[in-house]
Symmetry: C2
Subunit: 114 residues, 2 copies
């Protein structure tokens, strides 16, 4: 049976499969924001925002720091890098296969009788 | 309230949030495979494989064709491109912000009194 790369990729892609959580990331790429600012940006409650942030932090897409009563969030590049690296590996493998197919077809054109 | 980019990205990231579905994609980047071959590769039933394939096709990560009784699957590059494009946009926006921050810090070093 197949050995599977498990948890990290599961978590990061699950985190990204929600439009509100992607909206948080899009907002934070432009600079840090407090939890209240993110809630206002999304138009949802602070409680809902905190839940989304928990999922984003668990998948290393967002990190946060508390100063007094205010929690400020920012992008954690590790999660985005993880997701992008997996996708790039697939695209590279697939393009490599297409290149090899192309080479085989070229060879067949050169030697039509073979 | 925020306008959200909805369905397509939701579907593709949800599809990728499962280790078996990622294993199907990894397998198909090396070449087409029948449903039975994919089931054997994953070590799960054909019925479970068909369910995973449905999710992958709905998000344009995989396409398939039936010839007689045999369904053959291959990579659909559209889904991978969608996911990668979103991630690249976030990384670019974030790096652009870091560059601007760096420029501001450089300016402050040059004019420490200002």
């Amino acid at each position: 049976m197949l050995k599977r790369e498990g948890g990290v990729a599961d978590r990061v892609f699950h985190a990204l499969a929600d439009a509100n959580r992607r909206a948080v990331i899009e907002r934070l790429t432009r600079g840090p924001a407090t939890v209240s600012e993110l809630a206002a940006h999304l138009g949802v409650t602070v409680a809902a925002t905190v839940q989304h942030l928990q999922v984003l932090q668990d998948s290393e897409l967002v990190r946060s720091e508390k100063a007094g009563r205010v929690r400020t969030c920012q992008i954690d590049p590790a999660g985005l890098r993880n997701a992008e690296a997996w996708l790039q590996r697939q695209r590279t493998a697939w393009e490599h296969r297409l290149d090899r197919l192309g080479a085989v077809l070229d060879d067949q054109k050169k030697e039509p009788g073979s």
